[in-house]
C-alpha cells in the first residue's frame, strides 16, 4: 500500500521502528572525507528521515550492516571460549535497488554456498530492507546493464515528492498499520527505478577464461596502486581474513576475529613458504574482473556485479571498472587471433 507522509510523520514511524531496529542508512559525515573540507557519505545509524542522503551515492555500501568490517567470532582464555552475544536488535537497512540485488549475492555466498555461515545468519535473520528510489542514475551507475535496476523484495520503499514529503510503498504486512496511521494521504506509490544509465557496460556473451592471457591487464601493473578501495566499497565483495590476537596486557587471553579482505591488496594470495600467486597488480585486476563478470556466473548462474559503479567512484587512480569490462570483447578477439597464429 502507498502513503504520503510529512517529514514529522515519517520521523514518528522511524522512531517506532527504531525500538526494535537499528536504522542504518547512507548518511553525510561532515568533514569525514579524506581531504580537508570534504564530507563523506557512508552508512551509519540514523534517527530521522532527513539524515538519509537521497541525492548522492554512498562511497561505501550497506554491506557492513550484514558483514561487520571486523567481527569477533569468539574470545578465548587458556581454558574457555565465549562467543559474543548476537546483536540484540535487528537492522533496518536503507538501500538502493542495485544494493538490494547485492544482498542476494551476499546470501548466496554466506547461506547457500556450502554450510550456512552462523554469524552472518544470525544478523541476516533480523535484517529488513527499505528501498531508496532512484529518480535518476548517477554518472557511474550501470545497474540497467546488470539487470539490478528494479526490485520488489523490500519491506517498504522511500523517496521524496517535490514538496519534500515522503512517499512510501509498504510491502511488509506487519508495518502497514504504522504507516497508515501516520500518513496524510493514501495513494498508489511505485518507487522510482532508472531505465537507462549514462554508463553502459557490455559483457561479451562468449567470455571465457582465455581472456586472462590478453595484454590489457598489464596496463594496470603500473596504473593500479593496489589500495583495495574498489573491493572495500563494493557491495558484492565477500572475502574476509582471520586474525587471532592476544591482548597486550594479558598475553593469555585474546580473540579471534574476521576482517574484510581485498584481492587487490598485498597479502591476499600469500602462501606458506613465501609464495604469492598474484604478485602483479594487473593479475589482481584480471582476477577481480573475471570474478565479478565471469566465474561467479559460471558457478551461480547470474552475474555478481550489480553495476553500482562505486568502484569507479572511489578509485584514486581513475581506473574505470566499467571500461575494463567493455574492453573484454576486444581482449577476447586479441587472444583468439593470437591462438590462431
Amino acid at each position: 500500500m502507498g502513503y504520503r507522509l510529512t517529514k514529522e510523520a515519517c520521523d514518528g514511524v522511524l522512531q517506532k521502528l527504531s525500538l526494535n531496529h537499528t536504522l542504518f542508512a547512507p548518511k553525510r559525515f561532515t568533514g569525514g572525507g579524506p581531504f580537508s573540507g570534504t564530507d563523506l557519505i557512508r552508512y551509519g545509524k540514523i534517527a530521522s528521515a532527513d539524515e538519509i542522503v537521497l541525492d548522492a551515492k554512498s562511497a561505501h555500501s550497506f554491506k557492513e550492516a550484514l558483514l561487520p568490517i571486523t567481527e569477533t567470532l569468539f574470545y578465548f582464555t587458556e581454558e574457555q571460549m565465549k562467543e559474543p552475544d548476537p546483536p540484540a536488535q535487528g537492522v533496518l537497512v536503507f538501500l538502493r535497488s542495485c544494493d538490494l540485488h547485492a544482498v542476494r549475492r551476499l546470501d548466496e555466498i554466506y547461506l547457500r554456498n556450502g554450510a550456512e555461515d552462523y554469524y552472518y545468519k544470525r544478523i541476516r535473520e533480523k535484517t529488513r530492507f527499505a528501498l531508496i528510489g532512484c529518480p535518476t542514475a548517477f554518472d557511474t551507475c550501470f545497474c540497467v546493464d546488470m539487470v539490478a535496476n528494479r526490485s520488489d523484495n523490500y519491506d517498504f520503499s522511500i523517496e521524496q515528492d517535490e514538496n519534500a514529503n515522503y512517499l512510501i510503498d509498504c510491502r511488509a504486512a506487519d508495518w502497514a498499520a504504522l504507516f497508515e496511521a501516520a500518513a496524510s494521504q493514501t495513494l498508489a506509490v511505485e518507487p522510482s527505478f532508472v531505465a537507462a544509465t549514462p554508463t553502459r557496460v557490455g559483457i561479451p556473451a562468449l567470455l571465457d577464461a582465455g581472456v586472462a592471457a590478453a595484454a590489457m591487464w598489464d596496463q594496470y601493473d603500473g596504473r593500479c596502486i593496489k589500495c583495495g578501495r574498489c573491493n572495500f566499497s563494493c557491495p558484492t565483495c565477500t572475502c574476509y581474513t582471520m586474525q587471532d590476537l592476544f591482548y597486550t596486557d594479558n598475553g593469555k587471553a585474546g580473540e579471534r576475529r574476521r576482517v574484510w579482505a581485498s584481492c587487490m591488496v598485498d597479502g591476499f594470495t600469500d602462501v606458506a613458504g613465501g609464495g604469492c600467486y598474484r604478485p602483479k597488480n594487473g593479475q589482481r585486476m584480471r582476477f577481480k574482473t573475471l570474478h565479478k563478470v565471469f566465474d561467479y556466473k559460471q558457478r551461480f548462474g547470474y552475474q555478481m556485479c550489480v553495476g553500482c559503479g562505486r568502484c569507479d567512484d572511489v578509485c584514486p587512480e581513475y581506473i574505470s571498472f566499467a571500461r575494463i569490462v567493455n574492453r573484454l570483447e576486444e581482449a577476447l578477439r586479441e587472444v583468439k587471433s593470437d591462438a590462431a597464429e
Partner: protein
C-alpha cells in the same frame, strides 16, 4: 623632480635603477586572486608601465617602468584590486598605506591540494586583516601541510597546517597502507599492534598521510585545525637561518595573537638607529634573548591543551 622616496616606498612603489621610473607592488594575500584583477594589472602595465609584469618572490605582482608622475593614476586603477582583496586602507584611492609588513604568502592549500589541512588563502587573508597596514618588516608565510611547499621556515613566521588523526579501530582492515605511507612518505609514526596501527603521538607531525591513504575511513581528520608555528627564519646578508619550531598543535587564534604581540615587542625593542628603521625581528631576538621574546609573544595567549611549546629554542645557521 622632487620625490619623497620614504613616502613613495611606504606607498608600495619602488625607487628603481632607472631615474624617474618606479614600479608598483601589488599585494595578493594568500597568493590567490580573482582572474578579473589580472585585467586591471594588465591595463596598468600597458598604459603606464613598460608592458611587462614581474611575479614577485612573495606572490605579488610588480609592474615596472611607471613614471613617478603617473602614480596617482595607477593608484586609482588599483583601487578595485586593493578593495576587492579586502586589504585595509587608510584612504581609498591612495594605494597601499604601508609596505613594511610584506605580502603574506601561501601554497594553494585545501582549495585544490589533497594533502592540505586547511584553506591557506583564507587564513592568509584573515592574518592580512589583522596585521596590515604596518611599517615593520614582518614576513609571514603559510603552507597547507608539512610538505611545506611554501618553504615557510625562511620567514619570520612559518605556519604549517596539521590535522590530528582520529582512529576508528572497528573500521580498520589491516591493509597497512597507513603504516607503509607514514614510514615511506612521512616520519614513521605508525607501528602495528595486534593488526592495527598505533600512532606514536610524540613523533606524529599531523601530515594526514594516514588519512589520505586509508581506504576505509578508519582514519579521519580532526574537527579542529592545528598548526605548527616556526619562528624567525631569515635569508639575507648576515646570519641566514631556518625558522625553528616554536609551538606544535597550536590553533589559528593563538597564532594571530602571537604575531600581534610580536609587533608590540618589536616596537619596544627595535634599534631606533637601524638603517631605514628596518631591522629583522630575528636580530632583535638575538639581542634581547629568546626568553624575553617568549614572554611578550605568549601574553594573553590561551593555547589548546594539546599544544607543545618547544623549550628551549635554539638557532643555528650560517654566520658571516
Amino acid at each position: 623632480m622632487d620625490i619623497n622616496t620614504k613616502e613613495v616606498i611606504k606607498n608600495a612603489f619602488r625607487v628603481t635603477k632607472a631615474r624617474g621610473l618606479t614600479a608598483s607592488r601589488i599585494r595578493v594575500p594568500g597568493g590567490h586572486l580573482k582572474a578579473e584583477y589580472l585585467e586591471i594589472i594588465h591595463q596598468i602595465a600597458r598604459e603606464y608601465g613598460n608592458g611587462t609584469v614581474h611575479l614577485t618572490a612573495r606572490q605579488g605582482f610588480e609592474v615596472p617602468g611607471i613614471r613617478f608622475e603617473d602614480m596617482p593614476l595607477v593608484k586609482e586603477l588599483l583601487q578595485p584590486v586593493i578593495a576587492g582583496m579586502g586589504i585595509n586602507q587608510t584612504e581609498p584611492g591612495q594605494g597601499y598605506p604601508a609596505a613594511g609588513t610584506r605580502n603574506i604568502t601561501a601554497c594553494i592549500g585545501n582549495r585544490v591540494c589533497p594533502y592540505a589541512c586547511y584553506d591557506t588563502t583564507a587564513f592568509a587573508q584573515r592574518l592580512e586583516k589583522a596585521v596590515f597596514p604596518n611599517n615593520l618588516h614582518f614576513k609571514i608565510a603559510l603552507t597547507g601541510c608539512p610538505n611545506d611547499c611554501t618553504k615557510v621556515r625562511m620567514h619570520d613566521f612559518g605556519i604549517i597546517g596539521m590535522t590530528l588523526p582520529q582512529f576508528e579501530p572497528e573500521r580498520c582492515v589491516t591493509c597497512r597502507a597507513c603504516i607503509h605511507n607514514c614510514r615511506k612518505k612521512s616520519v614513521g609514526a605508525l607501528s602495528e599492534i595486534n593488526y592495527r596501527p598505533a600512532r606514536n603521538e610524540e613523533k606524529c607531525i599531523g601530515c594526514g598521510e594516514c588519512i589520505v591513504s586509508c581506504p576505509m575511513a578508519a582514519w579521519t581528520r580532526s574537527r579542529e585545525k592545528y598548526y605548527r608555528l616556526t619562528l624567525f627564519g631569515r635569508t639575507g646578508r648576515r646570519n641566514p637561518r631556518l625558522g625553528v619550531d616554536f609551538i606544535k598543535w597550536i590553533d589559528e587564534d593563538s597564532i594571530i595573537k602571537i604575531i600581534l604581540n610580536t609587533y608590540d615587542y618589536v616596537e619596544k625593542y627595535i634599534d631606533l638607529n637601524a638603517p631605514g628603521g628596518k631591522e629583522h625581528i630575528g636580530y632583535i631576538v638575538d639581542r634581547t634573548g629568546f626568553a624575553e621574546y617568549q614572554k611578550w609573544a605568549l601574553r594573553d595567549v590561551r593555547l589548546p591543551a594539546i599544544a607543545e611549546v618547544t623549550q628551549p629554542v635554539y638557532w643555528g645557521g650560517l654566520k658571516y
